[in-house]
C-alpha cells in the first residue's frame, strides 16, 4: 500500500475490530475473531481481523435494541431526520476510508468505489429526508360512514433484524439499514460475512454521530451461524433477509419459517424460488423497504355534527 522508500519500511498496524452493541464496542462474548481478505476471498490479501459474533452477541444486541426502542420511536420525526443527516455528514468525513474499504472488500476500481460510496451517502440522506414525510404519504384520513375523523398513522414495528447484503458491503448495507431506523425502529445488523469492513466503519460513524446507543447494533460474523438465532428470536419483530443471498449455509426459507413462530414481518430476498439473489442496489429505491417495517395505527375520533 505504501510506497517503498529507502528508509526501513514501517510495519503496518493490522486492526482487530470489535462488535458494535448498545453504543459500545465490545469483543465477542465468544472471544473469537476471523480473518477478512480483500475481495472477500481467502486468496486475497489479508485486510484485518473482525470479531466473530456468536448467538449470545446477537442476543445482547437484541436486548440493547429493545432498550433503545421507546426513546428512538418516541423521538420526533424531525429529530430523527436530523440525527440521520448527521450520520451522512460523518460518513462524508470518512469518505476516503470508506472508498478504500469498499475497494478492498469488493475488488472494484478506485473510480467505482468512489461512485458507490457517494451513492451510499446520498442514499442515507434520501432516507433521512423521508423521516417527517412518510407518515403523510402512507397515512391519512379515511373516509368513513359516520361522524368520525378516522385517521391512519404508520408506527415503527420494533426491533428489526437485518441481514446485510453479502456483496454490496456499503451501498447495500445503507439501503437496508436506513429505511429500518428512519421510522423509529431499532436494528440488529448482521454484517456481510466476508466483507464486514465498511459496516464496521459505519458503526464508528454511528458512534461518533448523534445516534443513541442501541438504535443500530452491528454484529460481524458467520451469517449461517447467527442468522437462525435472530430469525427465531421472540423479541425481534421483523427480519430483513436481504443478506441470505450468497451467504454460505443459509436457506432463507428456513429463516422465514422460524420467523413465523412469533409472526415477524419478513422481507424476503430478491429473486424467485428458493434461490435468493442480490438486487442492483444502485437503482433509486421506492418506499417498500420503509413500509415493510411499519404498523398502521387507526384512530377513530368523534367530530360531532
Amino acid at each position: 500500500m505504501s510506497p517503498t522508500t529507502g528508509a526501513p519500511s514501517r510495519v503496518e498496524i493490522k486492526k482487530t475490530y470489535k462488535l458494535y452493541i448498545g453504543g459500545k464496542f465490545p469483543r465477542s462474548e465468544s472471544g473469537r475473531s476471523y480473518e477478512v481478505y480483500a475481495g472477500g476471498a481467502s486468496s486475497g490479501a489479508f485486510l484485518a481481523n473482525a470479531a466473530q459474533g456468536s448467538r449470545k452477541d446477537a442476543r445482547d444486541a437484541v436486548v440493547a435494541a429493545r432498550k433503545a426502542f421507546p426513546a428512538w420511536a418516541g423521538a420526533t420525526a424531525y429529530n430523527r431526520g436530523q440525527v440521520l443527516y448527521r450520520v451522512a455528514e460523518v460518513m462524508e468525513g470518512r469518505r476516503a476510508q470508506f472508498v478504500a474499504e469498499v475497494r478492498a472488500s469488493e475488488g472494484v476500481s478506485e473510480r467505482q468505489a468512489e461512485a458507490v460510496v457517494g451513492q451510499a451517502i446520498d442514499r442515507w440522506v434520501w432516507y433521512a429526508g423521508w423521516s417527517d414525510k412518510y407518515a403523510q404519504v402512507l397515512g391519512g384520513l379515511n373516509p368513513v360512514a359516520g361522524p368520525y375523523f378516522d385517521i391512519s398513522a404508520p408506527e415503527p414495528t420494533g426491533v428489526v433484524a437485518v441481514l446485510a447484503p453479502q456483496a454490496s458491503s456499503l451501498l447495500g448495507l445503507v439501503s437496508v439499514l436506513a429505511p429500518v431506523v428512519v421510522s423509529g425502529n431499532t436494528a440488529v445488523v448482521l454484517s456481510s460475512e466476508l466483507r464486514p469492513l465498511p459496516a464496521i466503519t459505519l458503526s464508528e460513524a454511528l458512534a461518533t454521530s448523534d445516534v443513541p446507543g442501541g438504535v443500530v447494533n452491528i454484529v460481524t460474523g458467520r451469517t449461517g451461524e447467527v442468522a437462525p438465532w435472530l430469525a427465531s428470536h421472540r423479541d425481534v419483530n421483523a427480519i430483513d433477509l436481504a443478506g441470505a443471498a450468497g451467504a454460505e449455509g443459509v436457506v432463507w426459507g428456513d429463516l422465514e419459517a422460524a420467523a413465523a413462530e412469533n409472526l415477524k414481518r419478513v422481507v424476503r430476498p430478491a429473486g424467485t424460488g428458493p434461490e435468493a439473489v442480490e438486487p442492483d442496489w444502485t437503482a433509486t429505491p421506492d418506499l417498500s423497504r420503509l413500509t415493510a417495517f411499519l404498523e398502521t395505527k387507526t384512530v377513530w375520533h368523534p367530530k360531532g355534527r
Partner: protein, 339 residues
Amino acid sequence: MSTSTAPRDAVDAPSRARDILGASRLTNESLTAWLHGLPGVDQVGCEARAAMLGTRSIKTTSKAWAIDTAISMIDLTTLEGADTPGKVRGLCAKALTPDATDASTPRPAAVCVYGDMVPFAREVLGEGSGVNIAAVATAFPSGRASMPVKLADTRDAVANGADEIDMVIDRGAFLSGRYLDVFNEIADVKQACVRPDGTAARLKVIMETGELVTYDNVRRASWLSMLAGGDFIKTSTGKVSPAATLPVTVIMLEAVRDWRELTGEMVGVKPAGGIRTSKDAIKFLVAVSEVAGEDWLDPHWFRFGASSLLNDLLLQRQRMRIGAYSGSDYVTDDSPSLY
C-alpha cells in the same frame, strides 16, 4: 436437617448466648469482646474468592436445574409505598402460576409484602399452595421506631397470617457499638413471632449490609443475629445501594457454616436486592454450594429477595425449552421495583 427448626424455636436465646460467650451475664462488654474476637475478613481475598466463584460455567442440564432451583428460592417481593391490594393479588397470582405457558415451572418459595398486605396475599394464596407469605416488620426499611411499635408491627403481621417475618436491625445502634440493644431487639421480635398455638413465624434478620461499611461488621452482624435467634440472615432491604453483593453473601454463608459447626443448627441466608439476572442468581448458587455446602441448596435455607429476577429466570427457562430466545412479551409485565 428438617429437624433443626423445631428445637430451635424452643431455644432460649439469652441463656444459650451466655453459654456460647462463656459469660455469667450477657452484657454489652461481653458481646463486644466476643464479636470483636471474631477473625477479621480479608477484604481483597474475599472479593477475589467471590469473583472466582462467579466464573464457573454452568451449562445444559446443570443450568436447567439451577434455574428451577433459583425460581423455587425466590421471595417474590413488592415493597413500595404505592403497593395496593390489587398489586399484591397480582404478585400472588404470579407466584401460583409463574409461567402460564409451562405448568412444570416451580413456584417461588414465598411472596414478601408489607404487613398490612398479608390478608390480601392470603386471600389469593390460600393454605397449602406451597407459597409462604413473608411480611416485613419493625418499621421497615429504616427500623427507626420505638421498641413497642416494632413489636406491635411484628405481632400484627403474624396475626394477619404471615409465615415469615423479615425484620430490620437498628443499624444506628449496631454501628455505635450497642450490640446488646440489637441482641435484645432481635430476641424480642423473635418472641413476638410466636403464635398463640405455640408455633412461630420464621424470623429473617435484615442487616442492611450496604450501611454496615465494612466486611468485618457484616461478619459481626451475622453472628449477632444468629446468636439472638434469627432463623435467617438477610443482606438488605433493597432500599439501599449497594444491596446484595456476592462478597457479602460469601461472608454470611461462611458465618452460617461456622455456626453449624459451633451449635449444630442451620440458619438460612437471603441475599436481597440487586439480583436481576439468571446469571447473577447462578453465581449465588455456586457460592452457596462451595461455601456453605449443598445442605443450603434448598428453599428452606436459601432465598433470593427479588422481583424482576423471576422474569429473567422464566425467559431463560423458556429459551431452554423452545430452543429460541424469548422476549418480554412472553412473561407477565411487572411494575418496576428497586429489587
